[in-house]
Symmetry: C2
Subunit: 263 residues, 2 copies
DNA sequence: GTTCATCTGG
DNA sequence: CCAGATGAAC
């Protein structure tokens, strides 16, 4: 089974790139983030036309997540509220950042972790609160008896220093702060999840996002912030995990590249 | 000698369409309106690359006129102020709507007449004031001894009813009011200029502008508002005058088609 | 309907 | 640097 995650930065703008990629890379499930489309605007028909069932959670302009399955997904659940009580969720489902579905006994959780803007901003506080709740969300899924889980998406966090192009990048910059890394460890890794990419590649210099600005991609000034985390059974099963930088080379690309795990 | 006029509705957005057209239609002079670019933003290099000298008068966002010459133009003059005193011009050069240059003894005046919005608006008053001053401008050029003059551009006026797709179009709509038509006659035709298009075509159903909305072009709901007016000597010399609707059929076209006169 | 400026967000 | 929303202009 192949599962991919890709922040497409607008599904409408990137529709051709995404459908072409799916034709070349017929993964079983593609998890996308930043669809930037309401459910009405989402090009379901075009996704269906290339052989995928689409499950979407959109909002106007910002955020938005979706899952495309070659086979139907079951038990599709939207938001933290699909699992947690409204009291616990509070305002953290207002932005559409969470969708989950099951294929062949594998629970796939697709996340668009808040960016956080700058560490002195409200958005950074929101990101930390969101990551805290993510832990509760995943614990609840595990507690429900679900064994095989893939938690993937755009985490907007570089877990380790080698996931950043340069050691000179300030470590109190968003996506690199210890507060974010510690919360990612506490909310995901400490529950038993492992980073599938690191089963196969232990070196640095592998990135999934490059800033549009200052020719970040051409200069390979990237960050590895798109991850696929697996429960131990799936981590053992994993055959490969790789980043496909080809779509990042196209004209009008997303700033992110897709990451694919094969189980 | 071939002279063309074309409201391109943003030279930057239409750059490929315009340069392709120039390659197919190597007119001696192309007069454009609504360049919608400052002089800094104007793609002079791309125009030079297809063999044309560019003379520009731009402003930010709106209006803007330019002339492209296969040979250099001489005595290039910008605005009414190139000919009239500042006291006479007043505020009517704030918007960049006038540029002129000479080729082979022919004075070519390129105009972007104000649209006028609605007849109850300040913009309509501005349009009438502007047309009034245009008369003074042309009289001064004639008085200077210039004999052969081509006054062309987007006039935003349908001179006759047959220049509008439908007789049911209200004649108190901007571009069709008798106030505008009378001023156009007084400021241009009464000075001896003649509409070159009408030397060759006396029937209706020939248009140079179609509204983007309601599939105006597909339904041929057009207006002939882009004109080339000639002094008697040039009118006699004129061999042809035609509207090229081909570029209006392309994707992302200007809402105007080029009009070409051959002398 | 289309373009442009400005704004927000990344 | 890129994307979407909004508002103005045509």
């Amino acid at each position: 089974m192949q599962i991919a995650t890709w922040n497409v930065n607008s599904i409408r703008t990137r529709l051709d790139i995404v459908t072409n990629w799916l034709q070349q890379n017929p993964v079983d499930v593609l998890c996308i983030q930043e669809s930037k489309a309401t459910d009405e605007q989402f090009p379901i028909a075009a996704i269906a036309a290339c052989g995928y069932h689409a499950y979407i959670s959109g909002q106007k302009s910002y955020n938005g997540v979706a899952m495309f399955g070659k086979q139907p997904l079951t038990d599709v659940s939207i938001g933290f509220g699909g699992v947690l009580s409204p009291e616990l969720v509070g305002d953290l489902d207002e932005q559409k950042r969470v969708i989950a579905g099951t294929l062949d006994g594998v629970r796939i959780v697709n996340l668009y972790v808040p960016n956080g803007n700058t560490i002195d901003s409200d958005k950074y506080v929101y990101k930390l609160r969101w990551l805290e709740l993510l832990g509760e969300y995943l614990k609840t899924i595990i507690a429900s008896g679900q064994q095989s889980i893939c938690v993937c998406g755009d985490f907007n966090i570089a877990l380790e220093d080698i996931d950043i192009h340069s050691k000179t990048v300030s470590l109190d910059r968003v996506m690199a702060t210890s507060a974010e890394r510690d919360l990612l460890r506490k909310s995901v890794l400490d529950l038993g999840f492992q980073d599938s990419f690191r089963k196969f590649t232990t070196t640095g210099g592998h990135f999934s996002w490059w800033d549009y600005r200052q020719q970040g991609f051409e200069r390979n000034r990237g960050w590895r912030i798109d991850h696929l985390y697996l429960t131990p059974d799936l981590f053992d099963r994993a055959i490969s995990c790789s980043i496909d930088i080809e779509p990042r080379k196209l004209v009008q690309p997303s700033d992110h590249a897709p990451v694919i795990v094969e189980l």
